[in-house]
């Protein structure tokens, strides 16, 4: 992460989970794509080319195999371009490309009850209630290469990176927990040729909060107040109801 500045617009997203600049508007913080996107971005930053710590592989936004952007052949010994993306990517350009790091969800998102009926509190007058629960999402990072040695080496780099930065990501991205990652066995997979995959698995736990406001009591309150206080402009009454769940007496 040394050469990449993570810009977030914390505070604008409406909850404790900040969002990256350029993050899709339809992707809700805490959703699978948001969590996967975070780790895709983190790994792309980790494996971006660095003069300080040159690696045999470098993430690049292009997968052009042997040339630089202007067509000049890469010098001998240049790092192999690494593909880092999310699981189930159907881009044709990434098909059968190795080495690759693929980030995906690896199972069910489960929730654990932390308070009775997930109930935090409520407003008796309006019937509004607040809820809270902890969700756990398992994640799997597949480190794929054409040789078992390279696959395990990339897998270990990913594993150590996650292990060493878990407190940073937990703090900055509002995770309740980011587990110590598990480095799996390097196993062959049959594709167009024999390739090798080293899985790195871990899970993240994060808050889910939601509120419910019954509409019928509000509407009844609105009607009663409109009848009683016709002198007040209607728009002001509607704003008060929407923002504060009631009307100032």
């Amino acid at each position: 992460m040394s050469n990449i500045i993570v810009k977030t617009n914390k505070g604008q997203a409406g909850n404790a989970l900040p969002r990256l600049d350029g993050e899709g508007a339809d992707i809700v913080p805490g959703s699978m794509l948001a969590v996967v996107g975070l780790f895709v971005f983190a790994l792309q930053s980790r494996f971006a080319f660095s003069e300080v710590e040159p690696l045999p592989w470098a993430w690049s936004s292009t997968l052009k195999p042997s040339d630089t952007e202007d067509g000049t052949p890469l010098p001998e010994g240049s790092p192999r371009r690494l593909y880092i993306g999310s699981a189930y990517n159907i881009e044709a350009n990434t098909r059968n490309y190795r080495p690759a790091i693929i980030v995906g969800r690896s199972g069910d998102v489960t929730v654990a009850k932390v308070v009775i009926d997930n109930y935090l509190g409520g407003i008796q007058q309006t019937g509004a209630k607040a809820h809270h629960i902890m969700a756990t999402m398992p994640l799997m990072i597949y480190c794929e290469s054409e040789t078992p040695g390279e696959s395990s080496t990339i897998g270990e780099a990913v594993w150590v990176f996650l292990l060493a930065t878990r407190d940073i990501y937990r703090k900055d991205f509002g995770f309740h927990e980011l587990s110590e990652p598990t480095l799996g066995d390097t196993v062959p997979a049959k594709k167009d040729k024999e390739v090798w995959v080293t899985p790195v698995s871990f899970y993240v736990t994060y808050d889910i909060r939601w509120g419910t406001v019954p509409i019928a009591p509000r509407l009844r309150e609105l009607v009663v107040n409109l009848i009683q206080r016709r002198k007040e402009p209607l728009e002001d009454i509607l704003i008060q109801v929407a923002q504060f769940g009631g009307i100032d007496s």
């Binding site: 098909r95 040789t147 078992p148």
Partner: protein, 288 residues
């Protein structure tokens, strides 16, 4: 289309002769796992004396060659350079299928030179030898003139000088190493052998996996008996530059002597390191 630049296109024959005489390898008898007996004759000899021989071996009939004996005048030798070691520095015969090729070069004091190349092969009795020769020739004619197209066979190196990317564990950590092409052995592959093969048609299969859409295409090849291909050898079809990795080989044999090969291969992705192999067999002089 011209014949590819290759001194041995599917033929196990004398490849070079300066004078009237020729050298023909008559026996390559393996005594696994320790030695291989090689015997030859000189056809149309000018004199009965004055010949000196040099015997070399390789993993491909196109070399490069490693000398195992030279400067002698008897008509056989025994290759004992086999090691049951776990490193890949020397030829290790433990695998089921390990093909070796021998080259015998003969020099006469006054009449010039000749050479022949042969793969380690079993031998049949005299009657079936004729049938084998006929079938091999038929296969060559059919594939080169009727239903085959030009290929280059890159036989993978399984022994040789280790690459710097290979650790003491035997694992290479750079699949796209420019020196060894991920094999861990310098150069990675022996020199290509040009031949002919018939390729079946097959659809591209796709499956969606966590790592994206994976494309696979398995095809079936019929090819000549030389070079005998092994697991992980690369076959390049020179007309469309599609490259295939050998998955399974079935030899058609008479008295354990190979007549032709049927090979199951898988097309490899164009991002694979094997696309770094240079296969332009019409280049003069050849690139390899």
């Amino acid at each position: 289309m011209p014949v590819p630049q290759s001194i041995i296109a599917g033929k196990d024959v004398p490849v070079f002769s300066e004078g009237n005489f020729r050298v023909i390898i008559t026996r390559t008898v393996p005594v696994w796992p320790k030695k291989i007996f090689i015997q030859w004759i000189v056809k149309n000899p000018v004199t009965s004396l004055g010949y000196t021989f040099k015997v070399s071996r390789s993993g491909s009939p196109m070399g490069p060659w490693e000398d195992i004996a030279q400067g002698f005048d008897i008509f056989f030798t025994v290759d004992t350079k086999f090691e049951a070691t776990i490193n890949a520095l020397t030829m290790n015969p433990n695998a089921f299928k390990r093909n070796l090729y021998y080259r015998v070069q003969v020099t006469h004091t006054t009449q010039g030179k000749a050479e022949a190349i042969s793969q380690v092969d079993a031998y049949a009795d005299q009657r079936r030898t004729g049938i084998i020769r006929k079938l091999r020739r038929d296969a060559h004619v059919a594939l080169s003139k009727v239903n085959g197209i030009e290929i280059a066979v890159f036989k993978r190196r399984w022994f040789g000088e280790p690459c710097t990317c290979k650790s003491m564990t035997g694992q290479t950590t750079r699949a796209h190493c420019a020196t060894c092409l991920g094999t861990g052995i310098i150069h990675g592959y022996w020199n290509p052998v040009c031949s002919y093969a018939n390729r079946s048609i097959a659809p591209v299969d796709t499956q969606t996996t966590p790592t994206g859409i994976v494309e696979t295409r398995y095809v079936h090849l019929i090819m000549e008996y030389i070079p005998e291909v092994e697991l992980k050898d690369i076959i390049v079809f020179l007309r469309d530059d599609k490259r295939y990795i050998v998955e399974r080989v079935t030899n058609t044999e008479i008295q354990t002597v190979c007549v032709h090969q049927e090979v199951d291969v898988s097309e490899i992705a164009k991002s694979s390191v094997e696309f770094n192999l240079i296969a332009d067999s019409w280049r003069t002089p050849p690139w390899f």
